[in-house]
Amino acid sequence: MIPLNYFVIFSAILFSIGMYGVLARRNAILLLLSVELMLNAVNVNFVAFSRYITPHTIVGLMYTIFAMASGAAEIGVGLAIIVTIYRGKQTLNVDEIDMLKW
């Protein structure tokens, strides 16, 4: 069996890479992709914990399914917001989206 900590540490690294992307990117779509990486890291954590710590219940797996579905809904809304903002400003760079101060 693969040690549980392999998964947990893999997930921590993936989460941090996603976080770097969120902080460093300025294209709104790339920001979304980075958030997706973070959400996937979380899901790996949940599945791994669920299988190793409570194999007889499936709480963590259920959580993963709900997190995936709500993540997909979020991304859909986010892309719609991005398309709308592009119509108005012709840019996707969050630094240029600065009518309001950050």
Binding site: S11, M38, T84, I85, G88, L100
Partner: protein, 477 residues
């Protein structure tokens, strides 16, 4: 199984109203669509009455996903009534786009999310409730599609929202790894046998708590608030400012008291620090603001800071103070934003200068605004005073005099910017002599909130009893 559904009739009713609104939208002729607003408001009030019928019940239903207790029910009623006020405010705004069906569907879905958060006893339900609250809000913030500022408000709220959602989820995954459960009560049971000094637990807890404090816009997770408040259409701002914060506080209370009761001693540090930083940041940054919506955003942040004191104290008195604070806060903010909407119809820039001479242009609005601002300031005989008094008193009682002192000092700072608006209204000559017309719907909200603010301030006993009720029946607190 069948009997359980009696307890979620208010939630089912809101969902039904939302779908009715969405389907009616197709059949109503263009000029009659504002009817949908009244359908929604009727649904919200009916749900509030039905919830009131459940006061005193204490059950856990739907496989321990959802609890019915007085704390949840009272917050639910406040959320429903405040949301009905916010619904009333949007009628004038929607005349232009005529998207009544979509708007009220989103508003009701968001309210449904908040209702579920107030009663959730499982992290899955808390998380999905928060998602269901937030996703409609992102869309509503961008509802004025042709307005670039509104688009931006939506994008910023959305990006910061999903980022915190990811962080919250990561925290939840660590807590799950530690305890093997997501049920709040079971987490508490499991933690009794665990080493509480485990850093993994601490990190998980911090992440989850930070995610929830984002929803209430506490420092350092407040960055979205000023921009979103300024850019979003004002009726949406009124809703975002007044209503979802109650759900955020409910989630925090459930987490702190049900899942982590063992940590009570440590909350003073965490929430005391957060409260102090939130009060100071909100009040200091409110002073230089020229835009009234930004100013109210920072003042709202400051109010969250005062309310957070009650979580630092975290005993029964503090929590009934918190419920009282939420009622007062919702009334004051809905009224203030209603007045901003009325003035904004004449001068759409929403600058504080636009209030110049309001005392002569519209004495009624100016008078109402003065009362609401005095209440936010914490002037005696208003709801704001009683709310602050209860929270500060609970801090003193528990021996945290320093928190109360910081709170009072901050109220003094806030005098500066609240009085600034009053000065504009009465002392500065108007830039324009244009009168400010008051549409009936907006007038109704202003009147209600002023009356509520005064009644709570002058006869607080009844409301204190109501807030106390929360915990009399609730042995676990």
């Amino acid at each position: 199984m069948g009997k359980e559904f009696i307890y979620i009739i208010p939630e089912i009713l809101i969902l039904t109203t939302a779908t009715i609104v969405l389907s009616l939208d197709i059949f109503l002729p263009r000029e009659r669509k504002s009817l949908l607003a009244y359908v929604s408001i009727a649904g919200l009030w009916l749900a509030a009455f039905l919830s009131a019928g459940l006061i005193g019940e204490r059950v856990s239903i739907l496989a321990d996903m959802f609890v019915i207790d007085s704390f949840g029910i009272i917050l639910k009623i406040v959320i429903l009534i405040a949301a009905s006020m916010a619904a009333l405010l949007a009628i004038e705004f929607l005349k232009e786009s005529n998207k009544y069906g979509e708007y009220y569907f989103l508003l009701l879905s968001s309210v449904l999310g908040m209702m579920i958060v107030t009663g959730s006893s499982n992290l899955i339900a808390v998380f999905l409730g928060i998602q269901l609250t937030s996703v409609p809000l992102y869309i509503m913030a961008g509802f004025a599609r042709t307005d670039v500022k509104s688009n931006e408000a939506a994008l910023k709220y959305f990006l910061l929202g999903v980022l915190t959602a990811a962080v919250t989820l990561y925290g939840m995954s660590l807590i799950y790894g530690m305890t093997g459960t997501l049920n709040l009560a079971e987490i508490a049971t499991k933690l009794e046998h665990t080493n509480l000094n485990d850093p993994v637990l601490f990190i998980g807890m911090t992440f989850v708590v930070s995610g929830f404090t984002f929803k209430i816009a506490a420092v350092p997770f407040h960055f979205w608030a000023p921009d979103t408040y300024e850019g979003a259409p004002t009726p949406v701002t009124a809703f975002i400012a007044a209503v979802p914060k109650m759900a955020g506080f409910a989630a925090l209370v459930r987490l702190v008291f049900t899942a982590f009761p063992e940590f009570t001693g440590q909350w003073v540090g965490l929430f005391g620090l957060a409260a102090t930083m939130t009060m100071i940041t909100g009040n200091i940054l409110a002073i230089p603001q020229k835009n009234i919506k930004r100013m109210l955003a920072f003042s709202g942040i400051a109010h969250v800071g005062y309310a957070l004191i009650s979580l630092a104290v975290s005993n029964q008195h503090a929590l009934s103070g918190l419920v009282f604070y939420m009622i007062a806060y919702a009334a004051m903010n809905l009224g203030a934003f209603a007045i901003v909407i009325a003035v904004g119809r004449v001068s759409p820039e929403n600058q504080i200068e636009d209030f110049a001479g309001l005392g002569s242009r519209s004495p009624l609005l100016a008078g109402a605004m003065t009362i609401l601002l005095l209440s936010m300031l914490g002037f005696p005989l208003t709801a704001g005073f009683m709310a602050k008094f209860l929270v500060f008193a609970s801090a003193v009682e528990k021996g945290y005099v320093w928190l109360a002192v910081i709170g009072v000092a901050n109220s003094v700072i806030s005098l500066y910017y609240y009085i600034g608006v009053v000065r504009q209204m009465y002392m500065v000559p108007p830039k324009t002599e244009k009168p400010v017309p008051i549409p009936v719907t907006i007038g109704a909200v202003v009147l209600t909130s002023v009356v509520v603010t005064m009644v709570i301030g002058i006869f607080p006993e009844y409301f204190i009893q109501l807030a106390r009720l929360v915990f009399l029946v609730n042995a676990s607190f």
